[in-house]
Symmetry: C2
Amino acid sequence: MKKSKKIYLDYASSALANSANPGAIHQLGVKEKNKLENARKNVAEILGSHSDEIVFTSCATESNNLAILGVVKKYLEIFSHIVTTNIEHASVFEVCKYLEKTKQAEVTYVPVETNGIVDPRKIKKAIKPNTVLVSVMYANNEIGTIQPIMEIAKEIRHYKKQTGEKSVFPIFHTDATQAINYLPIKVEKLGVDLMSFNGAKIYGPKEVGVLYVKRKTPIGPIMFGGNQEFGLRPGTENVAGIVSLKDALQITEKIKEKESQRLTKLRNYFVGKLKEVDKKIIFNGDLENRLPNNINITIPKIPSDLLIIELSERGIMLSEKSACKSGDGKASGVIKAINPNGNEKNGSLRFSLGRQTTKADIDYTIKALVEILIKLKKWYN
Amino acid sequence: MKKSKKIYLDYASSALANSANPGAIHQLGVKEKNKLENARKNVAEILGSHSDEIVFTSCATESNNLAILGVVKKYLEIFSHIVTTNIEHASVFEVCKYLEKTKQAEVTYVPVETNGIVDPRKIKKAIKPNTVLVSVMYANNEIGTIQPIMEIAKEIRHYKKQTGEKSVFPIFHTDATQAINYLPIKVEKLGVDLMSFNGAKIYGPKEVGVLYVKRKTPIGPIMFGGNQEFGLRPGTENVAGIVSLKDALQITEKIKEKESQRLTKLRNYFVGKLKEVDKKIIFNGDLENRLPNNINITIPKIPSDLLIIELSERGIMLSEKSACKSGDGKASGVIKAINPNGNEKNGSLRFSLGRQTTKADIDYTIKALVEILIKLKKWYN
């Protein structure tokens, strides 16, 4: 019989023959499985990890949920304690709130300093004998401040040494979603046990997330079904999306240094121009220790949602806070955390720059902002 | 200023300006939000439901997990009871096993009859005062048998009437993943409260799932973070994937009747030919009340994994059982359920036909099978 002939009779497993189910044992399934495992290998190489430490999920929110719930569920017999900060993304913060509410865990929210950065010694101080997890984001999604992940890892190691027991606890998780474009991500050097990120922020597919899980980290699944992803994430693997995430990560890694330098320059130029616009503008978060692409400001007395709408009408797209929390009508928890005595009504503007951003864009934005402020100051003074 | 100019400064929310975050309040975010809500409306129309009853997830496995865990979690104060069958997909079965193991719920697995179809009266008999959920798949993923969903819904209504209380319990969930291509899916007519399916089986995107949630159904999220999907599924919405699922569902719906008729004919032709190949072939599952595209057989004395590899070498792709469970080396639980006294070593072959399948494909497959059987019977007789 002709070897080249292909007859696909596995529609119940995946309706599309050209993207067969990687769990199928026939030729096309094996081909997909190979694509999947090659992508996993490439992602692992970039993180400096083993292939079997890379778990693909559907998004960073799922990765964060898996990291926290997966560890706590594993230790339901003890009343688990979690240490985190007061400026985490909703997909960490709300999981902690849920665990508190349902009395499955207790949580210490270590407050960051007024510059939006947490003191590693305060993290260590918060650790207790029943602390199973420390979760601190690598860079903040609103104010772009970079957390001292290596120093926190060091404090955790010191704590473990002090106790004298050879314990895996506390496990150290970082949400690297915003950091991944610009900061070093070799997991061993960072000293993390769990690290989340996704495709959406690295110019890749929205529907793929990653959770790095260091070997021997005690963690269980939060959904149940198939044995995919080393038993940690059931469901048919989205091979095309995973390959596309791998491609995006490779590009990100390749241009990381150059792009970071370019954006740092552009950001500093933007900051200088903003200071000229209005001396009263408040810059939120440390100006040095922050992502190259992030500027977050408060313009006193002018509501920020109004500014965003006015800017959007002039074709300039930016956000006030996390899109995950945009609809709730509440002030940003991050801004409140770094400036507890500020006027909540002022709000904040997050300008986040990227690969297509040019100096001309910044000039245009500044021009628009001046125009808008002249108009609005008539009403808000 | 020029109205047409577009400057994107929201890279932290989505790195790709052409698929902005639908949670963002600027122009591009609103545009994505509109695409999302239009897709939701179109999906709702096809199911005969309201838009706010459609929840998008990352896959059918997640939809099934959300349906079961989301209801049980809501009622943790009572010791919940679940009624299901003994031939459910792993993403229902393993969730039930997990709930039993962690003592969060008790589960009754109603055995199907030898034809692979459950008796609705047996489902009713299994319902107890603490039954919060009945979960019965619409059509089986291995043997293609169609479950009497409307009749089960009727039995549940009778049960509720008998108790006299105006209770929402038990809630009725069906996993319609395999049924959606060929069977009626108007939710009100089916009488279901929750219904899962995905894009992978309808020639659409692998990474999108749907959970229909009837208004007022008591259910909570299983992951935490943003407020997306009516608070039931956090994480940035995969708008492109969701629109693509909507397109796939519209096509499926349009050609459903014609394609069902074509495949039923083709399947019956295939069955006839198989009977000619070997009279000892066992046809698993009811031959009438099954999906038009499914044939599941056991060839006595010949290991099915060997048959699949031999067929694959001749370019013919099929599976033994669910790809979600393909790697575990165990015999199919479904085949065991309908034939508890069978020889497990025989295994089974699932031929699942689809849009590209032709009569010539069937003839080629039969020819290959004859060739393989001549070869293998020398060794296995």
